[in-house]
């Protein structure tokens, strides 16, 4: 009798507790991160951000688990197998930074048909059932020219440092810069070099092209190349133009030094590795039943004269400025996409 009474009591308790549980819809949801590569500082920062935000969300009871998986080799077939394993492990949502935009589609379709929410970011996938948080690289190029137009209303000559030839990202940023120059005809691009997103390559390339260039007022970049450009221009004894930076630690350090020495002013923008946490919250929102458009855009992380010291202090040597996104940030991104 006693045990029976206890059981009845437990059942009664459960029935009282159930509605409360139902309100917090994602409390027992498990989210996994499928990552294809961890071999550079950007990816390391990305994993750290995910761990930090994921752990906090688990402690607060927003989700039940936020595990990370990285394939041992950066290969699409490995990652497809990894995603299929995640289906078996019963995750409710899978957040993917994909090794290939297409080669994972079969595995992702399997996940979708098993009722799993799939959110891809940075390395996005083309499978229609997945959500995509993409980077608008064209906008990244355009905004640089817009900033220069604001600073230098009378315009002038620009030097463009491009990335690695033949890579999609390079073409996109370049297209954005060209569009920006068309919209602001007071500017003209007088030189174009490939800096391969590396400071030493950029320095050599800029040093090589400088003697043939007229006076330049601004340098538009793709990130990872601003510091090298500054070194080359300094070595040539030229006036320092406005170099748009890409959030790398050495770039921001140089900028801060110049600011302290002679009041140098510029801006810096790139994608924060913390975008993984944005994808985390988007997945959580989808699980909660929110109406989320399939295509979302990653906001840029901008460093300006005002928050330079702050960004620099929080960025380790050799790394890139980072930010962890919150649930509110994710909601803002979703709303922006809904408005379009």
């Amino acid at each position: 009798m006693n045990t029976k009474a206890k059981l009845l009591g437990a059942a009664a308790l459960l029935s009282v507790a159930m509605p409360a549980l139902a309100q917090d819809q994602t409390g027992d949801a498990r989210i996994a991160l499928s990552n294809n590569y961890a071999g550079n500082s950007w990816r390391q920062a990305m994993l750290e951000s995910w761990e930090k935000v994921g752990q906090q969300a688990v402690e607060e009871g927003t989700v039940a688990a936020a595990d990370t998986f990285t394939t041992s080799e950066n290969q699409a077939t490995e990652q497809a197998a990894q995603i299929q394993n995640m289906i078996l492990q019963g995750y409710d949502a899978i957040v993917v930074n994909a090794a290939s935009p297409t080669a994972l589609n079969g595995a992702i379709a399997e996940a979708c048909s098993a009722g799993i929410t799939v959110v891809s970011f940075d390395g996005i996938v083309t499978e229609p059932c997945a959500w995509r948080i993409a980077v608008d690289f064209q906008e990244m190029g355009r905004q640089q020219v817009d900033y220069l137009a604001e600073r230098l209303p009378e315009g002038g000559n620009l030097l463009e440092i491009r990335g690695l030839a033949g890579v999609f990202v390079d073409d996109e940023i370049h297209a954005g810069i060209q569009q920006g120059v068309e919209e602001n005809p007071q500017f003209g691009i007088v030189g174009e070099v490939h800096g391969d997103w590396a400071q030493d390559v950029a320095q050599k390339a800029v040093a090589g092209v400088l003697p043939s260039l007229p006076e330049i007022v601004g340098v538009v970049t793709q990130g990872g190349d601003g510091y090298g450009a500054a070194q080359a221009i300094k070595a040539a004894g030229r006036d320092m133009p406005i170099i748009v930076m890409g959030n790398r630690q050495d770039e921001m350090q140089w900028w801060a030094d110049q600011r302290d020495a002679n009041g140098y002013e510029t801006m810096s923008l790139s994608i924060a590795p913390g975008v993984a946490t944005l994808a985390f919250w988007v997945a959580q929102q989808v699980l909660e039943g929110a109406d989320v458009p399939k295509d979302l855009t990653v906001p840029f992380l901008k460093v300006t004269q005002d928050n330079l010291d702050e960004a620099l202090a929080s960025t380790p040597d050799g790394s890139v400025a980072n930010v962890e996104y919150s649930l509110e940030d994710a909601k803002a991104v979703i709303e922006e996409a809904q408005a379009q």
């Binding site: 935009p101 994972l104 079969g106």
Partner: protein
Amino acid sequence: MSSRFRILLPVLSLAVLLAAVFYMQPRAMSYFGLNLLFNLAVPIALATVAQMMIIMVNDIDLSTGTFVSFVACVTATFLNDAPLVGLLILAGAIAVYAALGALIEARQLPAIVVTLGMSFVWGGLAVLILPSPGGSAPGWIRALMTAKPPLVPMAIVASVLLAAVAHFVVMRTSTGAILRAVGGNARAVSRSGWSVIRLRAGAYALAGFFGVLSGITLVGLTTSADANIALRYTLLSIAGVILGGGEFTGGRVSPVGAVIGALTLALAGSFLSFMRLSPDWQIGAQGAILILVLAVRLVFARNGRRKEAQHG
């Protein structure tokens, strides 16, 4: 090592790994679960059988990965848009494989150098056909790979079928026996009146054929292709052949073992993933599993030889 014993160790390794996976992830013990565990192993198994054909004649193919990638790109583009052209290209690719075999034999070239060179050719062609990832799988192959036969999942049906066909061709036909003899003693084969050039060309053509099947099934699973999609298959296929009881020399191969070896390798990946092992350790752990199996094989082989010596 007798051929019956040759197959025992791969079967045992697969069974142990499977039991471990079932223990860690009971959900895998279902129709749906088995399919998810093994469907990506089907193209690996086909690539492994292709590699086995080459190893059978004492050569090694370093272009398997790029060749399968190339076939995947052809499948997702030509075979889908213009099936006839696609089939012609794939038939041409098999012919190129046969020609390579003939060339290697006729000029006595090292296969490792020729196939390494060919890996750049296939890789280049793949990028030419599909400069950026995309294309789409022909409907029939997608339907075939996602088919749900009653009782046993497609991945298992395909693996068993492949093992049976490869076993029949290599172990049960007279051509298969002569092909294995090329690996055993090419000079004896040639002295008894066979053209080793034609035989080696045949073995390479078989490899090309199974490589083509591997690429087609891979696209059937992924729905679209990427020029770098199967680069890992080169090493996976070699490891699969050896894990399955094959040897680099002497024409000693086991088709059934090769398929089981490929399944074991695929399963090892899942096992490590279920263990939540850090990716820094995963490659090492995968290697450790391989070394463990091979070490066990060596111990058994040595014991077997000792016994033979005692009795014989």
